[in-house]
Point group: C2
DNA sequence: ACCAGCATAATTGTCGACAATTATGCTTGA
DNA sequence: TCAAGCATAATTGTCGACAATTATGCTGGT
């Protein structure tokens, strides 16, 4: 955070209420922009921000208690990801989910990407990668037990991302992000946190056991 | 463009020289940010900006005669596309091209995307789409005849993009962009403008004739 | 001679304000 | 009453400046 006016280091309060029925949220130290990106992305996926809803930079800035600059950066990014669509000089709105037909194509692409990452990671025998994946799975446990949708989405994404962030294939993430984001816009299993966790645990277990075929199968079964 | 200082409406000159050996360029009216994005993207693809070269916001801003804001937006966008990589608070540098193995995966994905777009466009029987594709092909002619690499890249990208921008599948572009950008970072046919034009003309001819199979084959042959 | 710690410099991150563009409502004329 | 044109308002695009963080070079101690 920053603020050469009145901001302190870790958080900041709002001064006035917005007209959209959102609950107030605080953002803390870590890159403001990234947090806004994640927050809005999750809000869209979970339906807090409904389809076609238009977003105003100033409104979001006030809501998060920051200036328009990081909000602008975030909206730009989300637009490129496909979460939002923009008309020049006229702002952005929440985009529509894919058609079922497109969704099929997207699912296929995401499977190819993640399986490829899996293969490369297995080849590299990088123990720290396994550790990171395991740690990220652990973050998914509590949200699943509590059926906390927003956190499930967040950690589900984070887990798959950690898989794709295998060593030596850095460039893959930039392709994976828009593909997966688009898939998640039809996130349809908002019930059954237990099942969600088990599916992911199966992937990670197979990774830990260095069983590529099992990991691949569990992954493909989960990506749908 | 803007400039509440000395800018006029269509263009603007620089006031001082930079230390990087770049030639000066002018940007005109249309969204400054988009032009910077395209310029830097093409510069990376054509090798004007070599791998691992680090880019400074202020240097680019001075080079293009604008402030840091639109440059910042552009770098953010290009980072998410995978053209650049960023370390927090430390700037961006040109990223490395894909490994041959990853390149194969990427080629397959791009083919799937463009063929899918082709299919949907044929189904929709939208004449204006055909017109747009034809017009975009026409823009490719002169650069190919003159072997103007940068413009070839620009118009090559534009043509394929116009194909993907088929009606009713708006969401596809956001996936297509990083995939194709990554492919182009290994743009290897910088010789033979004639051949490049013929390949693309074959695609568009088949589209005009409403011959899906021929268009698909020409497309797959071109995407490699 | 070499390493640790510190001051300095360079660069990004954020902020508030202005310019330009687009949308919207109002007035005016037929 | 309705349509066209205009004034007004709302929103994005860009700018210059400040704050914070990170990298770098220097100094002093061992």
């Amino acid at each position: 955070m920053t603020g050469h006016s009145e901001g302190n280091k870790t958080a900041r309060l709002m001064t006035q209420n917005q007209t959209d029925g959102e609950t107030r949220q605080r953002l803390s130290a870590r890159e403001v922009r990234d947090q806004i990106i994640e927050q809005v992305r999750v809000d869209v996926i979970t339906g807090v921000l409904p389809e076609s809803m238009s977003l105003r930079e100033q409104a979001l800035a006030s809501k998060y208690g920051v200036s328009r600059a990081p909000v602008r950066d975030a909206l730009l990014e989300l637009t490129r990801e496909g979460v939002l669509v923009a008309k020049p000089n006229h702002g952005v709105k929440v985009s529509r989910p894919s058609s079922p037909e497109l969704q099929k194509v997207v699912v296929g692409m995401r499977r190819k990407i993640e399986v490829f990452a899996l293969k490369k990671a297995f080849e590299s025998r990088d123990r720290s990668w396994v550790d990171r994946v395991e740690a990220t799975l652990e973050r998914l446990r509590t949200p699943c037990e509590e059926n906390a949708t927003a956190d499930i989405v967040r950690c589900d994404l984070a887990l798959h991302r950690s898989i794709v962030e295998a060593p030596e294939i850095e460039g893959l993430v930039s392709i994976w992000v828009p593909v997966t984001t688009r898939m998640f816009m039809r996130y349809s299993r908002l019930s059954g946190g237990d099942a969600i966790f088990r599916e992911h645990a199966a992937i990670v277990d197979a990774i830990r056991d260095q069983d590529f075929e099992a990991a691949k199968n569990a992954l493909v079964a989960n990506v749908r």
